[in-house]
Symmetry: C2
Subunit: 390 residues, 2 copies
């Protein structure tokens, strides 16, 4: 045990795709040159392709929260009535942004681990026909739960409101038919399924949402959707772009295209399925059994054990960083990530490590039990990948 490789196994930042990291070395590039415009154009086009949308795609030098801010500050006006779905920490962030900009928010809150239902959204829309926007997380990273954005979109699209989806951990972990379902704004970030470090955010935006930009009156400058669209069409960004990360993203997107976005999603789904099987086999409880997403699986620590112990021992015993609960869930759950550059070998090792840690902390399990559950899912998927169901 003298060598413990550092392994980043969290739901963002996620494990990094090495050729994308290497691409950053070539960032001695000026952003107002044809060389850069070529790279930037291809990056935007590849993102649109893997996201499967004909909508405009805009990119920002910021974390994902910057793109969330951009959607609110560019498309709404003070006092606008909106509906905010809150099923965890990132839902709370939507509510905070709405408050910061003075929107009149109807907040639909459910306990951590649960999801807001399409029915709740539909009822809230019926109650307030003047609603201008509905905000949700496709996948709530803090709990691992996934919202039924398809059904929500169907409800929203029948109204005058736009549907703004934080898909920062949703992209690449769940099918999102942006154009077919009518997802007016879809937000993503670089450090999730796209396998590169944080620092880039992007969003797709469709016709219905663009109309909102025409009449919205909230002030904004750095995040300017209309300006960014015009810049992007010229192959540039409005302000100095995060060149190193854009070159990294271009490289990662080549890999994602080679795999295929549907296969990347299937990869996450298989790992999530196997993780749920393994932890349940070990006698642990899932935190979001009702609507588990494939980006991350939140697991309850055994009764009487602080989940921080599991997180700490992953670091001290195996050099691996896994995620604790966030906010009020800290100490109660730990989270196993699946989004992006994760494979079955990562999961074999993670479940074996978990078995050792549980045993060492007064929660006896039979070594190999959880790993065997993962191996079985692997075998079924390798034989007939299409037939494995959640």
């Amino acid at each position: 045990m003298y060598i413990k490789k550092q392994r980043l196994l969290t739901p963002g930042p996620t494990p990094l795709y090495p050729p994308a990291l290497h691409a950053m070395m070539a960032s001695d590039i000026h952003h107002r040159t044809e060389d850069f415009r070529k790279a930037y154009r291809s990056c935007l086009a590849d993102l649109k392709e893997v996201m499967g949308t004909a909508n405009d795609l805009l990119m920002f030098a910021s974390s994902g929260t910057g793109a969330m801010d951009a959607a609110v500050s560019n498309l709404f006006s003070k006092g606008d009535k909106v509906i905010v779905c809150v099923a965890g920490k990132f839902g709370e962030r939507w509510a905070e942004i709405a408050k910061a900009y003075g929107l009149d928010a109807h907040v639909l809150t459910v306990p951590y681990g649960q999801v807001v239902t399409p029915g709740q959204v539909e009822a809230a829309l019926a109650q307030e026909p003047a609603t201008k926007g509905v905000f949700v997380q496709a996948s709530e990273t803090s709990t691992g739960a996934a919202h039924d954005v398809r059904a929500m979109a169907a409800a929203v699209s029948r109204t005058g409101a736009i549907f703004v989806v934080d898909a920062i951990t949703g992209l690449g972990t769940m099918p999102l038919d942006i154009d077919g379902w009518g997802l007016d704004v879809v937000i993503g970030g670089s450090q999730k399924a796209f396998m590169i470090p944080p620092g880039l955010a992007f969003l797709s935006i469709g016709t219905k949402a663009w109309k909102f930009a025409e009449t919205a009156t909230l002030p904004h400058f750095y995040f300017n959707l209309k300006k960014e669209k015009k810049s992007g069409e010229a192959g540039e960004s409005s302000w100095t772009p995060s060149t190193a990360l854009i070159l990294a993203l271009a490289e990662a997107l080549r890999y994602v295209k080679q795999i295929g976005m549907d296969k990347l999603i299937e990869n996450a789904r298989l790992l999530a399925t196997a993780t749920r099987a393994a932890v349940q086999k070990l006698g642990l409880e899932l935190f979001s059994p009702g609507s588990p997403g494939s980006s991350v699986t939140a697991v309850r620590a055994p009764a009487g054990m602080d989940s921080g112990v599991i997180v700490k021992e992953f670091k001290s015993r195996f050099g691996a960083i896994i995620a604790n609960g966030q906010g009020s869930m800290k100490g109660q759950i730990f989270r196993i990530a699946h989004l992006g550059y994760f494979d079955f070998a990562d999961l074999f090792a993670m479940v074996a490590g978990l078995e050792i840690i549980l045993n060492a902390n007064g929660f006896p399990v039979k070594y190999g039990t959880g790993v065997a559950a993962v191996e079985e899912i692997y075998e079924r998927a390798a034989v007939a990948p299409q037939t494995v169901s959640a």
Copy 2:
């Protein structure tokens, strides 16, 4: 001429410090861990040290424009009277930001190549005692001119207004005694004298400006100075930080500390002095002869020659990217940068290349004339660095 190394010789992004690039490879780090907090804390502390200020230092995942936005949206209210100094493209940006946020801006505009004088600022302040803020560029990158921020600060500090200085190309190219002169807000970016790719912005903020944050009413979310101060004190950033760039900056700052900020500034000043000597010896005219800064030297193209020809031939003949004029100056001037990771060998090669390009395009010069001027400055500086004056 079969090998032409790519050389980025622009005033931002500037040439990259290789060990800083290599540090980005280790960005498989999670931002809510003690490992990261340690790196982030040391990065903030080192920045404060090299900037020589006891003020708070806040960092953002954004380009420099994001920090400019942050200063306005966090410290002012709609309708506030402010003075904006405009001496080029980046001064115009201050005016645009003020407009976007509904400030009542008194814009002091001078032609590109000139500077706003401290007397103009003083007169404008006297004319409107209710002025809440004064905005300026320490160094106006688009023209190479440097403002007398020390004298301006003296005028502003006698009033109730705060002095907000965009020092994105000023830091590391000119002395800026933030605390001694009373520079209330000083803005910097990663891709300038700090030798790493773009994508990080930061600002220092003092007590007088913090008081403005208490009463300011403009809405904002992503850029939140008060929240960022609290996060920074805990060794974290409010939102997901741009980890790869922060690790790169930490490495570059080690180098800057090793050289010494004063020596880094002297390095730029010597290169600027040598550049002015060389181009004048070649019969070219400086664009800002009255108040030349050391970040970049803007040079007029010879009569009848588009400066774009010089820029293009640097690329095609030598693989080097130099900067054209910006905005209305495009085609009229070219710009030779000095800020950050530039040395005399870069300048020898650049001036030799310039001689060849001028000769090839109908502006005959004697080979070696300009280079000799640079060599002479080098020799004087190497013998007695302290005695070389601009």
